[in-house]
C-alpha cells in the first residue's frame, strides 16, 4: 500500500512538473522523499535495533559456533570453518529430524482441523461474544508453556485424573497408557500450538466481508459452495500464517517430547538439547540448529509458493 501511494504521488508530482516545466517541484519532491525516509527510519529504529540485538547477533553467534572445531578437554573450541560439523550433525540426526517433521505435520493438521471451525464460528456467528470467546481460547496461555505441558503429564498420568477414572469404571484395561508415547507428544504439541493457529485464522476470517457470502448465495451458491468458493480462498492468508506459526516452532519443540514422550519419541530439538547440555558439543549443536532453521525456511517458502499469499491477499482485497 505505501508503495502504491508513493508511486501515485511520484506520478502526480511528475505530472505537475511536466505541466509547469520548472525546477522547484522536483526539489519539493526530493525534500518530501527525504523527510519520508527519515520518518520511516525513525519508526523502524526501535524494532530494528531490537532485532539486531535479539535476533541477528545471536544468529551470527550460532553460525559462528557451528563452524568451530576442537575439543572440550583440549583447549575448547576454535573457529576453523569446520563445515564437517554440518555433515556429522545431519548424519547422526536424520531419524530425529524426520520424526520431528512428522509429529509437527500431524499436529499442524490437527490444530487446523480444530481451530478453523472454531475461528469460523467465532468470526461469523459469535456476534457480541466474539472477543470474549476469543479471549477464552487465549486464557490458558497466560500460564507458562512448560507448566502447562507438565500439567498434562498429571492429567494423562497412567492412574491419573482421566485414565484412573476410566480404569476404575472398567472402560480401559489396567495397563493402558498414553504418556511416554507418540500420541501424547502429538496431542501435547497440538494443544500447545492451538492459539497460534486460531489467532491468524480468526483475523483472516473476521476480515471477510460477510456481504460477499450473501452475494454468493444470491447467485445461487449453496452454503457449502459459498464457503468453498468465497470464504476458504479469502482465508488463505490466515491459513498460511497459521501453518507457518504452528509448523515451524513445533518442529523445533523439545518440551513436549521431553515431558510427555520417551526415548521412542525423541525429536530433533531434544537432540540439540542433549548435544548442548549433556555432551557439551556446542559446535555440532549449533550446526544442527542451523540445519533445522534452513530446513524450516525452505518449507515456509514452499508454503508461500503453494498457497500463493500475494494472490490471496489480492483476492481478499478485491
Amino acid at each position: 500500500m505505501p508503495q502504491d501511494q508513493s508511486k501515485d504521488l511520484a506520478l502526480l508530482t511528475a505530472a505537475v512538473a511536466g505541466q509547469s516545466g520548472e525546477e522547484p517541484p522536483k526539489r519539493a519532491d526530493q525534500f518530501l522523499a527525504k523527510r519520508r525516509s527519515r520518518v520511516a527510519y525513525g519508526i523502524l529504529a526501535p524494532g530494528g535495533i531490537y532485532l539486531m540485538l535479539a535476533f541477528i547477533v545471536p544468529l551470527i553467534l550460532v553460525v559462528y559456533t557451528s563452524l568451530q572445531s576442537g575439543g572440550l578437554l583440549s583447549g575448547g573450541y576454535q573457529f576453523t570453518w569446520a563445515f564437517e560439523n554440518y555433515a556429522d550433525a545431519f548424519a547422526s540426526s536424520k531419524t530425529f529430524i524426520a520424526r520431528a517433521l512428522l509429529y509437527s505435520a500431524l499436529a499442524t493438521v490437527l490444530t487446523i482441523l480444530l481451530a478453523y471451525p472454531m475461528a469460523y464460528w467465532i468470526a461469523f456467528y459469535a456476534g457480541r461474544w466474539k472477543s470474549t470467546l476469543f479471549f477464552l481460547i487465549l486464557v490458558p496461555f497466560f500460564v507458562s508453556f512448560v507448566i502447562r505441558t507438565v500439567q498434562w503429564n498429571f492429567i494423562l498420568a497412567d492412574d491419573g485424573l482421566l485414565f484412573g477414572f476410566l480404569k476404575d469404571l472398567g472402560l480401559l484395561p489396567d495397563n493402558f497408557r498414553v504418556l511416554a508415547g507418540p500420541v501424547a507428544v502429538v496431542a501435547g504439541i497440538t494443544y500447545n500450538f492451538l492459539p497460534f493457529t486460531a489467532l491468524p485464522l480468526y483475523v483472516a476470517l473476521d476480515r471477510i466481508d460477510k456481504g460477499l457470502v450473501e452475494a454468493a448465495k444470491d447467485l445461487y451458491a449453496t452454503k457449502f459452495e459459498a464457503f468453498r468458493k468465497v470464504v476458504l480462498p479469502l482465508s488463505f492468508p490466515g491459513l498460511f500464517a497459521a501453518l507457518v506459526l504452528t509448523f515451524v516452532p513445533a518442529t523445533g519443540d523439545y518440551v513436549n517430547s521431553s515431558v510427555l514422550g520417551s526415548n521412542r519419541t525423541t525429536m530433533v530439538g531434544q537432540v540439540i538439547q542433549t548435544k548442548f547440555l549433556t555432551e557439551a558439543d556446542y559446535p555440532e549443536a549449533a550446526a544442527l540448529s542451523v540445519i533445522l532453521m534452513i530446513g524450516m525456511l525452505v518449507i515456509a517458502l514452499a508454503y508461500a509458493k503453494v498457497l500463493g499469499t500475494e494472490d490471496s491477499t489480492l483476492a481478499a482485497a478485491a
Binding site: L72, G75, G76, F96, T278
Partner: protein, 431 residues
C-alpha cells in the same frame, strides 16, 4: 552465634524450611527448559566470542592460572551458585533476602559477597563462561560451583581455573570430610573444594512394587516393578550401572562401558523401562507413573520425610554413585584472594552448619552432624524433631562402610575418551 537463623528471621517457620530443602536439581528442570539457551547468549559472551578469537593449540594439559594468594583481597566477591543451595533468611530491618553465612563472612572480613544463584545446569553455565575463558578474560565470577564431570575436567585441564595454594586453607585442612579431600578428579584439591554433595541410587514407590527393590537387576524384572514403569537418569546412568556390575568407574575403559551399555539395552528389552530422564523424573515419580527409578537421595527422602509419602530410597546392593559440587575460582578472577578466603570460611563447622540446616545435603564438614544434634536439643516442637531427623539420617553423614560402596563416576580426561563414551551411551537413551 550472632547470625543464628532465628536471630535474623524471627518469622522463620519449619514448613518454609521444608519447602527450601528439596534437591535443587529437580527444581531446576523447569528453569532449564525456559532459560538454558537464553542464558548462553548473554551479551558479554557474544562480545567475547566476536572479539576474542584465540589461537588453538594452547590446549592440552595446561597448568592452572597461578595467583599470589598472599596479596590483599579485593572488596567484593561474585559468587555463582545453584538455586536453593545456601542458607537464606529475610533481613528483619530491610525485608531483603540475605544469606546469614555470607553476612557473617562480610562482618568478619569486610569483603562484600555478591551471591547469584544463576547456575541451572553445568553445561549451559559452562557454555556461558566459555568465550571469556578461551579469550583469557575475567568471567565476572570469583567463585563458581561445578559438579565433578566433563565441565569440571575441562576447567582444570585447560587451565581455566585458578590453582589453589594448599597452605592457605586452615579450616579445610582441619574440618573437611575424608571423601571431600583429595578426590580422584582433583588430586590434592589443587583446583577445587567441595561445596555440598549427594548420592544417586534407586527410589521406589512401596505400593507399586511387589517387593522392595534392592538391586539394579530388579529394575528389569516386570514381576517386581511392572511394565513401562522404570525411570533412568541419563547423565548418571552409565556410572551407576557400572558400579552395580562390579566395575569401578575409575578404572573402566570402553570394554566396561560397552558392558554397561549392554545392561541398559537389556533393561530396554525387558519392557520395564518407561523413559530416560534428564532430571524431570521426580514429576513422573510423584504422579505415580513410575514404580521405581534411578533417583537422587535428596529428592525422594524429601517426600518420604517431610510429606510422609510411601517412598523409599536405597543404595542398591552393588553401590550408589557419589557426586560432589565443587567451588572453584575461574582464571582471571578479579578477586581470587577474597574468593579463597570465603571458600575456606565455609569450612568452619558453625558456618557449614548454617548452610546444611537449610539445604539438607551431605556436608563436607562432618562436625556439623553433632552441631545439628546439639541445635535440636536447644529447639522445641516440630523444628527440633526435623533437626534431629537430619542429624540422624545416615545418608547425610556417610560412614566408611557406605563410602566404600559409593565411588565417583568415571572422570573423562581426554576428548577421545569423551567421544567414545558419548558414542556408546548417547544413542541408547535417544532411541
Amino acid at each position: 552465634m550472632t547470625h543464628d537463623r532465628k536471630d535474623v528471621d524471627p518469622g522463620f517457620s519449619a514448613s518454609l524450611m521444608r519447602g527450601m530443602t528439596q534437591r535443587r536439581v529437580s527444581r531446576r528442570d523447569l528453569i532449564k527448559y525456559g532459560g538454558a539457551t537464553v542464558g548462553t547468549l548473554s551479551l558479554a559472551s557474544i562480545l567475547a566470542a566476536c572479539g576474542g578469537d584465540t589461537a588453538p593449540g594452547s590446549g592440552g594439559q595446561t597448568s592452572g592460572a597461578t595467583v599470589d594468594f598472599s596479596a590483599p583481597p579485593g572488596d567484593t566477591i561474585n559468587f555463582a551458585n545453584w538455586p536453593l543451595y545456601i542458607d537464606s533468611a529475610k533481613d528483619p530491618d530491610t525485608g531483603e533476602r540475605i544469606h546469614p553465612s555470607l553476612v557473617s563472612f562480610t562482618e568478619e572480613t569486610g569483603i562484600a559477597v555478591n551471591y547469584n544463584d544463576e547456575i541451572q545446569a553445568n553445561a549451559s553455565f559452562f557454555g556461558e563462561l566459555l568465550p571469556q575463558l578461551q579469550a583469557e578474560q575475567d568471567t565476572g565470577r570469583d567463585i563458581i560451583v561445578i559438579t565433578n564431570g566433563r565441565e569440571f575436567t575441562a576447567l582444570t585441564v585447560n587451565g581455566w581455573v585458578t590453582e589453589l595454594d594448599p597452605s592457605m586453607r586452615p579450616n579445610f585442612d582441619a574440618n573437611a570430610a575424608s571423601w571431600a579431600k583429595d578426590p580422584d578428579y582433583d588430586p590434592g584439591n589443587k583446583y577445587s573444594m567441595a561445596w555440598q554433595s549427594g548420592l544417586t541410587g534407586i527410589g521406589y514407590l512401596t505400593e507399586k512394587v511387589s517387593r522392595p527393590v534392592t538391586t539394579m537387576d530388579d529394575l528389569m524384572n516386570p514381576d517386581i516393578v511392572g511394565t513401562s514403569s522404570v525411570g533412568m537418569i541419563t547423565g548418571d546412568m552409565p556410572d551407576l550401572v557400572m558400579i552395580n556390575l562390579g566395575i569401578d568407574p575409575a578404572s573402566s575403559g570402553p570394554a566396561e562401558w560397552q558392558e554397561a551399555a549392554d545392561w541398559i539395552q537389556m533393561l530396554k528389552d525387558s519392557g520395564t523401562l518407561r523413559k530416560f530422564y534428564d532430571q524431570g523424573y521426580i514429576d513422573d515419580f510423584t504422579a505415580g507413573n513410575l514404580a521405581a527409578s534411578m533417583a537422587w537421595s535428596g529428592d525422594v527422602l524429601y517426600y518420604k520425610i517431610w510429606e510422609n509419602k510411601p517412598y523409599e530410597w536405597v543404595v542398591p546392593d552393588g553401590g550408589a554413585l557419589l557426586w560432589i559440587d565443587n567451588m572453584m575460582i575461574p582464571a582471571n578472577s578479579a578477586n581470587p584472594q577474597g574468593a579463597y578466603q570465603l571458600m575456606d570460611y565455609v569450612y568452619l563447622p558453625e558456618i557449614a552448619q548454617m548452610i546444611t540446616e537449610w539445604v539438607a545435603y551431605m556436608s563436607p564438614v562432618p562436625a556439623v552432624q553433632d552441631l545439628i544434634a546439639q541445635h535440636a536439643t536447644e529447639e522445641s516442637g516440630e523444628y527440633a524433631a526435623d533437626l534431629a531427623d537430619m542429624a540422624e539420617n545416615p545418608l547425610l553423614w556417610p560412614d566408611d562402610a557406605l563410602l566404600a560402596q559409593t565411588p565417583f563416576g568415571r572422570n573423562l580426561t581426554t576428548d577421545e575418551e569423551r567421544e567414545e563414551w558419548d558414542a556408546i551411551f548417547v544413542p541408547i537413551s535417544e532411541t
